[in-house]
Symmetry: C2
Subunit: 200 residues, 2 copies
């Protein structure tokens, strides 16, 4: 029972170390030795909890990236009673975007760009998260539309897809420019787009 908790804890340590390494170097360039280097664990631990490097990567997507996505985007939007306002604020939330996040980029977008054409399993897992994210925006827009805050002629599905795309695009460009200012300028333009969806 207690050993079970200890086991789960080391599994979590591997997951977190894997997430960091993959976030920094991408999945293919991530070395399992480097992943384990900082943890004090060895390959025996990793391959006891995960059958392969690929399965570790998929677990990182589901458990680490997925959890962050739900916590930062999906839950706040779902719990908000003013979805339109929450959406605009979410886009304009400046301090949310840390220096490291700008430098290394969005982990979801990084993996999508790297693994999507290479591995079907990765693509499917990443696509699931993508759809969840898009649905969160879409639901918020639709609720706002029902509340009369969003214009009736707005295609909420397409708009949500575009917001996700533009968001990832902005983080990706900011990563290459290594410029927080560019990121904010870019996100402000996304805000302009979203405000354009509102009435008046």
């Amino acid at each position: 029972m207690d050993s079970n908790r200890q086991s789960d804890l080391t599994r979590q340590r591997v997951l977190e170390a894997g997430f960091k390494e993959i976030h920094r170097h991408g999945f293919q360039a991530a070395s399992v030795c480097d992943i384990l280097a900082d943890t004090g664990l060895t390959k025996g631990a990793l391959y006891h909890h995960f059958p392969s490097k690929k399965e570790l990567g998929l677990a990182v997507i589901d458990e680490m990236i997925g959890a962050g996505l739900r916590e930062r985007f999906i839950r706040p939007l779902r719990d908000s009673e003013r979805p339109a306002q929450a959406l605009v604020e979410l886009i304009g939330n400046k301090q949310e975007q840390s220096e490291e996040y700008i430098q290394l980029g969005c982990p979801l977008n990084n993996l999508m760009q790297e693994m999507s054409p290479v591995d079907e399993d990765f693509r499917n897992r990443l696509n699931r998260l993508l759809n969840q994210w898009q649905s969160a925006f879409e639901d918020a827009l639709r609720r706002a539309q029902v509340a009369g805050e969003v214009r009736e002629d707005v295609d909420c599905h397409a708009a949500a897809l575009f917001i996700v795309s533009a968001w990832e695009g902005c983080t990706g460009i900011a990563k290459n420019m290594q410029s927080v200012e560019s990121f904010r300028a870019c996100m402000s333009q996304l805000q302009v787009y979203v405000v354009g969806l509102l009435k008046h």
Copy 2:
């Protein structure tokens, strides 16, 4: 003299093969053996024309990706006498986006997401292309602004940055979804944004 042309031709063959392989697997995962496999050439040829795999990658950026960028975006916008219309048409140009381009993504964006945090030299070269692209949009917007087609309160610099970002975001998302329809829906929303910059 004739041998010189033969030499340049093989160099070009290596460049093209390198571009394809990098476009498909990314730079780090691209194997020099695989690059040469289809060409009938060997490592001797590659390392005669390029001192390292990295220099080949940088040359691919400058000569292949840069050339494509100038041909497809920069020149058409610069040569157009109706920049605002040209910009909107460029975004709405459907058949331009081939199936393969959707599947493998934008080569510029792919390399940015992969190499930007890993290698400073790559980041700088990619940033140069990014700035050229952004400047092309910015100049077009500014010219349209002078012509009275774009609103005076529009920040052309930020708008151009956002267009580039959203463009790359749309291609990236479409790559993961493997859906031409999603890409078109997404680009249509970008068109909505650009039209919003125009008067009326």
